[in-house]
């Protein structure tokens, strides 16, 4: 065994994504989860060219900083004394040393220990020891901290791009934007990220985490014990009449109405009697502030929103933000935060923490089983790697494919949201989009029409998307 790879070189000729419109099958080649060359292509064509979720603006007060890694690049996420947000490359412009070796803190300066260069948190050079050895002041000033190419904030969510060649953030978000806006509308005082990050690694490809979040089919079998707990607490979980939506640009959405139970918005018995009273009061406030139709959309539906490529918003009992950072084909780092109303009643905050943490995160009653699923897939797909029967090395995502391109929305327990993700992935990663067998339906598979009670402005956004560049290019 001289090869470092545990399996033979992937069959580069086998198509990555195949949609067969006669058999109504949709298949993804499993090298998409394990091939190092494809991983490098994803870094170059997705993570270096797309808006990426960095963090939330409420994580930082003046002069606070957090270090993060996106697309393998170490970054400093900071807010200067004037309140402006920055994302600096966490690397000294001099010789490349990691500049900030703390994970978080408060500082007006970043100092490189190696040669004692110092920088203001606006990026300007503060001091270079013995500067007379450099040509002039201009040269010294050129050594300011390197920033990401673009940084934009939408409703408190901070995104960055490593290239200038990206559309405005709100165009990238498309219909996903309104579902992010709804989060801020839940409470009159707005939302804030709570301290304490769940930072953990999983032995699985990042796309398995995306699939899992958009997969209502796994909920009952995988989370059998959690569903049992919910039922015992007087809450029936129902997967009927719930739908998945492709929002274009790789974004997707599950709208869950049968998983109810939303703290301060939709009461269920396990939340207790005090919370029932508070929920009713809060609903009255929301209806006054937002109008009854919007209040209904914001309060009564649970959402799982995926913003391509690295942000998942779990707007369920409470609100959890999850950021995916691919480290290697079979290794993904995850950061997760709780987003909660500012100035929340301590009793509600306590309920929120217990309720959300009980479900999400690597120590919860449900997420460990999801992680078990990604990790078991990652191990299991070695079974077909390099098999002479090439057709075996595909994963199947055909559930509900008869709905694609018909304008019908797919059920949350089908696999339509995953198909939307993979179609976009196959296009942007340079595979030329999915390979069609047979004749595709006249109507394009995405975006899916959203429910009739659409958020304000969404009809216009969708109308733009249907004639937009991305669809026209296919």
């Amino acid at each position: 065994m001289t090869s470092p790879s545990p399996h033979p070189a992937p069959d580069a000729a086998a198509p990555l994504v195949v949609q067969d419109w006669e058999r109504l099958s949709f298949r993804v080649h499993r090298r998409a989860y394990r091939d190092a060359d494809l991983f490098a292509a994803e870094r170059a064509r997705i993570w270096e060219r797309t808006w990426l979720y960095l963090g939330h603006e409420t994580e930082l007060g003046p002069n606070d900083f957090k270090v993060r890694t996106l697309g393998g690049r170490p970054l400093i996420f900071t807010r200067d004394a004037k309140g402006e947000l920055h994302a600096f490359l966490n690397s000294c412009p001099h010789r490349g040393t990691v500049l900030c070796r703390e994970t978080q803190g408060t500082s007006k300066h970043f100092n490189c220990f190696y040669h004692a260069w110092a920088f203001h948190n606006t990026g300007e050079v503060a001091a270079i020891p013995d500067p007379s050895a450099y040509a002039d002041e201009e040269y010294k000033a050129s050594m300011r901290l390197r920033e990401v190419a673009r940084l934009e904030v939408f409703e408190g969510f901070v995104f960055v791009s490593f290239t200038d060649d990206v559309p405005p953030l709100v165009d990238h978000l498309g219909p996903a934007a309104d579902y992010m806006r709804m989060i801020g509308e839940q409470h009159v005082a707005g939302m804030e990220v709570l301290p304490g990050t769940q930072l953990y690694g999983v032995r699985g490809n990042w796309k398995l985490a995306v699939e899992n979040a958009m997969d209502g089919y796994h909920f009952s079998p995988t989370h059998n014990t959690f569903v049992g707990y919910l039922r015992e607490s007087g809450f029936a979980v129902d997967d009927d009449d719930q739908y998945a939506y492709n929002l274009g640009n790789g974004h997707s959405l599950l709208i869950l109405t049968g998983h109810g139970g939303r703290i301060s918005m939709l009461w269920e018995p396990r939340f207790g009697e005090d919370e029932r009273v508070r929920t009713a009061e809060h609903r009255r406030e929301m209806e006054q502030r937002l109008g009854s139709e919007r209040a209904h959309l914001v309060a009564d539906e649970s959402h799982i929103l995926f913003v391509f490529p690295n942000l998942l918003l779990f707007d369920l009992e409470g609100l959890s933000i999850r950021q995916l950072e691919p480290v290697a084909p079979g290794h993904t780092d995850v950061r997760a935060w709780q987003l909660a109303p500012r100035g929340e009643d301590p009793a509600v905050r306590d309920l929120r923490m217990r309720t959300m943490v009980s479900f999400v995160g690597p120590g919860g009653l449900a997420t460990p089983d999801d992680i078990e699923a990604y990790e078991a897939v990652q191990r299991g797909i070695e079974a077909t790697a390099g098999d002479g029967r090439a057709e075996l090395d595909y994963s199947d995502m055909s559930r509900g494919m008869a709905d694609d391109g018909t304008g019908r929305r797919g059920r949350s327990t089908d696999e339509g949201a995953m198909r939307g993700f993979w179609r976009h992935w196959a296009t942007v990663v340079g595979a030329g989009g999915p390979v069609d067998v047979g004749t595709p339906p006249a109507g394009h598979p995405e975006p899916t029409p959203l429910p009739s009670k659409r958020p304000h402005g969404l009809d216009e956004i969708l109308a733009g998307l249907e004639t937009g560049n991305e669809v026209a290019a296919r």
Partner: protein
């Protein structure tokens, strides 16, 4: 959870470090053997189990990120889950091996005793082994015939949970 210990009267009797060590060692043996029902019997009714995130510091469980913040209901649900074949993340169960050291009695307030200890738990599963070093910061109820957890708190001495190191077992 307000009438915590009505069924179990507290005591102001003297407790030695040896007694606390025996309690923690016996607990470790129960957990390594996956005897979860008996383990739950080491708690007072209304007891809690917490694991803060690796960056949380002393943030109270009600105010910040936690890996585990179980009240009594959730703790019982966790044990019920672990006993089920359908707790997929722990079926088959992780192989765990616990070392407990540096046990200290920190503070005594009536029938309550605060104790600290260091732990090192090794967990093997799926061909990998993860090490979980950390310290306990427990609050124990002293009774006439033993000790019970009011708060069982495990604080990781890690910067993060490394790949595969999910907390599907009891840390």
């Amino acid at each position: 959870m307000t009438a915590l210990d009505t069924a179990l009267p507290g005591s102001t009797r003297t407790v030695t470090r040896a007694e606390v060590e025996d309690f923690l060692f016996a607990e470790a043996a129960l957990l390594d053997a996956q005897r979860y029902e008996e383990w739950l019997g080491l708690f007072v009714e209304g007891g809690r189990f917490e694991i803060p995130t690796t960056d949380a510091g002393d943030t109270p469980a009600s105010q910040g990120g936690y890996f585990v913040c179980d009240d009594w209901d959730l703790l019982r649900a966790r044990v019920k889950r672990l006993r089920s074949r359908k707790a997929h993340a722990e079926n088959p169960a992780s192989l765990t091996h616990r070392m407990i050291a540096n046990v200290r009695l920190l503070e005594r307030d009536g029938d309550e005793l605060s104790v600290a200890a260091n732990f090192l738990v090794h967990r093997a599963r799926d061909g990998h082994t993860n090490a979980f070093p950390g310290r306990y910061a427990h609050r124990l109820l002293v009774t006439e015939d033993g000790l019970r957890f009011r708060l069982r708190r495990s604080v990781l001495a890690l910067e993060r949970l490394e790949a595969g190191a999910r907390l599907s077992f009891i840390l």
